[in-house]
């Protein structure tokens, strides 16, 4: 059974996902185990600067984790979704579905 979302949680989710770019990032991370920065930018057609800002926000919210490494002397940044990010994203989708369900 889905846990009911409180008003406070709902407001926090709305704020976190208020930007379409963040929604796209979370949707991508939800279905992929991990993705590197360049792939993400290409896939979502976001500029590197824009993506970087949103990733930082999501990281601060505790929704994504970052892994930095050097491969063939080139830096590679990989992102994965955290458990909290997954739960909150799912809650957000449930909330959206609840909103539209009475008027479907």
């Amino acid at each position: 059974m889905t846990t009911p979302i409180t008003i406070v949680q709902s407001a926090a989710l709305e704020k976190a996902f208020s930007v379409p770019a963040r929604l796209k990032i979370m949707s991508t991370l939800f279905v992929r185990e991990e993705i590197d920065f360049s792939d993400m930018a290409g896939l979502l057609q976001l500029t590197r600067g824009n993506l970087s800002v949103h990733m930082k926000t999501l990281e601060e919210l505790g929704y994504v984790s970052v892994k930095k490494a050097f491969i063939d002397n080139k830096p590679k940044t990989t992102y994965t979704i955290t458990r909290q990010g997954r739960t909150h994203f799912r809650s957000y989708v449930t909330m959206l579905e609840t909103i539209i369900s009475p008027v479907r």
Binding site: E14, L23, K24, S27, R32, R90, M95, E97, I99
Partner: protein, 213 residues
């Protein structure tokens, strides 16, 4: 202060999520597919082409020799069986990995590929394999039966499972099924189509020859 989300915004957000997931899983599927299975499928494609060339050569050189079609059929069914296992395993892994109740769209997408594509082709492959072993005399008719079976199974899945008509399924089944194995990538599709062209042409020629005899 953030405005509460209305139905319109909710619909828009869900639409963004669905589109993004669709795009992300599509590209991931393709990437995984190419990375893990490409060499295998290309090898099958080459083997198929060689097999079909041999079939053609034998057909033209020795028209009355024991048919080589069953060899091709056997090869085909082996490929079907192998890829069927891979695909079914992939289907269950993906179902487990994702929350299937989360997005109806995604569920439908998976449902579609399984019931419309892999299940009919896999069943056709198994039937072909059994026929190949048991009924050697039916060799000329086997490809026809496979195609008809594919159409029937596909129709059943369309009308009773997905409840929607999708001509793409028929198109691929009518092509003979082999192209389906290479559904996920252009290069693989190319290999599949080459293999398929030879199979279809060889089979038709053989069928024609069989009727002439």
């Amino acid at each position: 202060m953030t405005q509460p989300i209305g139905p319109e915004r909710a619909r828009e957000d869900l639409s963004i999520i669905r589109e993004t997931i669709d795009r992300s899983t599509g590209s991931r599927f393709l990437a995984d597919f190419i990375r893990t299975q490409a060499s295998l499928f290309i090898l099958f494609g080459i083997l198929g082409c060689v097999g079909c060339l041999v079939h053609w050569y034998a057909l033209l050189r020795y028209p009355t020799s024991p048919a080589t079609l069953p060899i091709i059929a056997g090869m085909w069914s082996a490929i079907m069986a192998f890829t069927g296992v891979i695909k079914v395993r992939g289907f269950f892994r993906r179902s487990k990995a994702f929350n299937m109740d989360f997005l109806t769209y995604y569920r439908n997408l998976t449902h579609f590929s399984f019931f419309q594509v892999y299940l009919p082709v896999g069943l056709a492959g198994i039937i072909l394999f059994i026929l190949f072993i048991k009924i050697g005399l039916w060799q000329h008719i086997v490809p026809t039966i496979v195609v008809i079976m594919g159409i029937i199974i596909n129709s059943l899945s369309v009308f009773f499972i997905d409840k929607r008509l999708n001509l793409t399924g028929y198109f691929y089944i009518l092509l003979g099924g082999a192209g389906l194995l290479f559904f996920d990538g252009a290069l693989l599709l190319f290999c599949g189509m080459v293999f398929l062209s030879f199979t279809v042409l060889g089979s038709l020629l053989h069928l024609y020859g069989g009727f002439q005899e």
